[in-house]
């Protein structure tokens, strides 16, 4: 690899002087993302302004075997953008143009660095819905969402990012600019590279632009909450709701530990005697929403809910949703080293899985509370530790290894929406098996013969 000054000079020749950082401070700032416990400094940080500049940086890096780690807002939770092997962090936030919103074609086209919220807001202004709504949407970028196949609160009814990506512009590590898919809902010409790149976590190509599907915005939304004795009861209610032919837009749950933590933190007046809190919601025409919410209320009551409340207006709905929004802040107050995971199981095994998480946490003497998406079985077991408790971090590590194994044993997965990155690569073979792992590596080599793109992650 060229020495720091040469590297800076060469990269500046591509992107311009003001857009290369090699100062120690910048290298420290880009040494991490939102994942605790993973840090590694790059040699340079580069902020290109165009697809062509991205291609030139990649050609340069491939020729010299320099690792390149693509990065959007750095909000990911699996150390997917930590430059484990050093090299160049390729920051894509300057590619921030929203290129089009088409109500006629029901699609949007955005450069990779546009924030998801900016895209969703622009669509909403034309009464359209960009459905994927990861919790980080005000921060995270369209490119980052595609690269991690970001999920969100509406997964059951609306699916996740992959269900909305129609086409991509991407740069191969060898510098070729490709366009996959396009403005079509039907297109079977060739392998589905759009889907392959979606969730590829910056290991195959650098996504520079995305074309995504939009939906007509729902006219109305409604929200309610139900308390249950146990998460098992809440799970039965969820199953009964879906069996009744309703697919709610929102089905979020808090376990007993989350309820306690949220109540201690925010004093929202949550019931202290409940073992589970279920927040449900739907959208659509006003008649559909009120009909579905009434039916959900009825089904919850029949399946033994302690109490069911429907929000009479938007302000009240916001107040109900506050409990879910407060979960992470409330838990992080208990210990600022917050390890947020996302083991996922089939919906009907959720209660068993949370029991298992509790058992594992007790055995390791850890504080792990669980909230998540009851509609799609995507759990967020969250471990809170004192940052100085090195022994605690070690125990948390072992506990999560058991939690991931349990998820796989329940026909689930090690990550539902956060990604594999560096944090969950050690568990990936358990999920995929040796044959698929070998195939992943061959795919990686086909895209990236020099092995420069995000090394130490998927396909390594």
């Amino acid at each position: 690899m060229p020495a720091g000054t040469d590297l800076a000079r060469d990269l500046a020749a591509i992107v311009g002087d003001g857009h290369v950082r090699v100062d120690e401070g910048a290298l420290a700032a880009y040494a991490r993302d939102a994942t605790p416990l993973f840090t590694a400094r790059p040699q340079a940080v580069v902020l290109p302004a165009s697809t062509e500049e991205v291609a030139a940086v990649l050609r340069y890096a491939t020729a010299r075997g320099i690792p390149v780690v693509p990065r959007g807002a750095g909000s990911n939770l699996c150390a997917g953008t930590v430059p484990l092997e050093g090299g160049i962090v390729l920051v894509l936030t300057r590619l921030d143009k929203l290129l089009e919103i088409s109500p006629e074609e029901l699609l949007a086209r955005a450069q990779t660095g546009v924030t998801t919220a900016a895209l969703a807001d622009a669509a909403a202004a034309k009464r359209l819905l960009y459905a994927p709504d990861p919790g980080s949407r005000t921060v995270s970028t369209v490119g980052g969402n595609v690269a991690t196949c970001a999920g969100g609160l509406r997964g059951l009814k609306y699916g996740v990012t992959r269900n909305y990506v129609l086409g991509l512009e991407a740069v191969l590590p060898t510098g070729e600019i490709i366009r996959t898919g396009g403005r079509l809902w039907k297109d079977v010409a060739g392998y589905d590279l759009t889907r392959l790149l979606t969730g590829s976590e910056g290991t195959l190509a650098v996504i520079t632009e995305a074309t995504v599907a939009l939906l007509p915005a729902p006219q109305d939304t409604g929200t309610g909450v139900a308390y249950f004795d146990s998460l098992a009861d809440a799970s039965r209610a969820v199953a009964a709701v879906i069996a009744a032919g309703i697919v709610p837009a929102t089905l979020e749950f808090l376990d007993r530990k989350c309820i306690t933590a949220v109540e201690e933190y925010a004093g929202l007046g949550l019931r202290g005697d409940a073992g589970a809190l279920l927040i449900f919601g739907d959208d659509g025409s006003p008649a559909t929403v009120s009909g579905n919410l009434a039916r959900i209320q009825e089904v919850c009551a029949q399946t033994g809910a302690l109490e069911v409340t429907l929000a009479e207006n938007v302000a009240r709905a916001d107040a109900l949703l506050a409990a879910r929004r407060c979960s992470l802040p409330a838990l992080s107050r208990l210990g600022s080293l917050t390890i947020l995971e996302d083991a996922t199981v089939p919906r009907h095994r959720m209660a068993e899985m949370v029991d298992r998480i509790d058992e594992i946490a007790d055995r390791y003497g850890l504080r792990i509370a669980t909230f998540g998406h009851a509609g799609d079985g995507n759990l967020h077991p969250t471990c809170v530790l004192d940052p100085d408790d090195a022994d605690g971090a070690g125990r948390a590590h072992e506990a999560f290894a058991e939690i991931f194994a349990a998820a796989i044993a329940f026909d689930g997965t090690i990550t539902g929406e956060h990604g594999v990155g560096a944090a969950k690569l050690p568990y990936l073979t358990d999920r995929l098996g040796e044959d698929q792992m070998a195939l992943l590596r061959r795919i990686k080599r086909a895209f990236d013969p020099a092995g420069i793109l995000n090394p130490g992650k998927l396909g390594s």
């Binding site: 100062d23 401070g25 840090t39 400094r41 484990l84 980080s136 073979t429």
Partner: protein, 428 residues
């Protein structure tokens, strides 16, 4: 190549626990620094991140820098540390979106205590701190006032000349109903009836905008104005001397009996931090809490004026006061919410003087908005914001004028018919 190779990328070895952090240099309060979970939710709230798009100039990135400084991973004299501690506006917008409750403003004070200690402090900041620490010198400010305001013209609403300490006159009374009967405002408790309220004159405001204090007295004839009072210390705290900043706040707390009323959002937040929230009221929240009935309206060319608010960052982000100033403006004019009303105007204490170029970049979009919305006034609740917006609007010869809320309300009251001397509308 890596700092802490946590995961062996080639193998299946689970990540070992990280090495326990060292004791640290003691620059920062460890509890405060540990709070950040690095989620990045602060990025879209940060005006300097909006300018650069670079992690180093985001709140999360700056906390990563602070941690590297504290841990000895960056040299104490690292140039990026110096630059970023100075580039930060200190607006604390990040605190309002932080899910983990990071007290960024406190961390910044501690950071600047380190970065700007002794000779490293910018000379402008040093000069200003020296000036406001000596009450005698404050009067001299009046002499340089016109120059500092960047104009030879007087503000539109202050027709009368300034005195160093306004006399206690009894202008038309506009007091509202018993404060005990009024609802609490968004952030603070109620005022107990009959409690003494002392007006803080403010070291910057006293010199540059004496009309503001006078207008506050017209609006609140019940308040007292102790003549012996110094600086609140916010200037010191934000410029690398938080120790003196705290001492000055405590001293002022002793000089001003009862509730301290201030017309400066920045001073309110600093005083509240050191003296307790209950001791301090910013003017708009005070008027709101006592159920102040506005009088008259502000007109331009015979029609009701269109007026926007520029929030004071520390009033909004530090104390959570946003509703009262808007309602007060709306009571005497047609209120227009500018899209960036809640975002920093770039004044940021000494920032506009220390980093004029960056300050201007932060301000410009706001001026565009004010012109696009075709407002007559941009109302401010802090003298620094007033100076910043006023200079910005004047330099582009904008039709809109900047004015402090106190003067704006007083201007409205002057348009109203005379109230009989004994009259208190609320009691009739």
């Amino acid at each position: 190549m890596t700092d802490h190779p946590i995961v062996d990328p080639t193998g299946h070895t689970p990540a070992p626990a990280p090495a326990p952090p060292g004791p640290g240099l003691g620059i920062f309060d460890k509890e405060l620094l540990d709070r950040c979970i690095s989620c990045g939710f602060c990025l879209p709230a940060c005006p300097t991140y909006a300018l650069t798009g670079e992690e180093t100039s985001s709140p999360r990135g700056r906390i990563t820098l602070m941690r590297a400084l504290e841990a000895g991973d960056l040299a104490p004299d690292d140039p990026t540390l110096a630059e970023e501690s100075s580039f930060c506006l200190g607006c604390r917008a990040c605190e309002t979106v932080c899910p983990a409750g990071v007290e960024y403003g406190q961390l910044l004070e501690q950071w600047r205590d380190h970065q700007w200690s002794g000779p490293n402090r910018p000379w402008i900041a040093r000069a200003l701190m020296a000036l406001v620490s000596r009450p005698g010198l404050l009067r001299l400010q009046g002499l340089v006032r016109r120059h500092a305001r960047g104009t030879a013209k007087a503000t539109p609403s202050t027709a009368t000349p300034a005195e160093s300490v306004p006399a206690q006159s009894t202008p038309p009374a506009t007091a509202g109903p018993d404060p005990a009967e009024t609802p609490a405002d968004d952030s603070s408790g109620q005022l107990s009836a009959g409690q003494q309220v002392s007006l803080m004159l403010g070291c910057v405001e006293r010199g540059l905008y004496p009309g503001v204090s006078r207008a506050a007295q017209q609006l609140c004839p019940e308040i007292t104005v102790p003549t012996r009072q110094g600086c609140c210390g916010a200037l010191h705290a934000h410029n690398g001397d938080s120790k003196t900043g705290a001492e000055l706040a405590r001293t002022l707390g002793e000089q001003l009996p009862g509730t301290i009323l201030t017309t400066a959002g920045g001073c309110a937040a600093h005083l509240a931090h050191h003296l307790g929230r209950d001791r301090v009221r910013e003017l708009s929240e005070y008027l709101d809490a006592k159920g102040h009935q506005t009088v008259g309206q502000v007109t331009v060319n015979g029609r009701r004026a269109r007026a926007a608010l520029q929030d004071s960052c520390h009033l909004r982000n530090g104390l959570g006061v946003t509703r009262p100033p808007r309602e007060l403006i709306a009571a005497v004019a047609d209120y227009v919410e500018l899209p960036s009303a809640g975002k920093c105007c770039g004044a940021a204490g000494t920032y506009a003087m220390l980093r004029p170029e960056d300050s201007k970049k932060v301000l410009e979009p706001k001026l565009d908005e004010a012109e696009e919305a075709d407002v007559d006034y941009v109302v401010t609740v802090n003298p620094g914001c007033l100076r910043q917006v006023q200079q910005g609007l004047r330099s582009r010869r904008s039709r809109a004028k900047a004015i402090h809320l106190a003067e704006f309300l007083a201007l409205a009251a002057r348009s109203a018919p005379e109230v009989p001397p004994s009259g208190n509308p609320a009691q009739r």
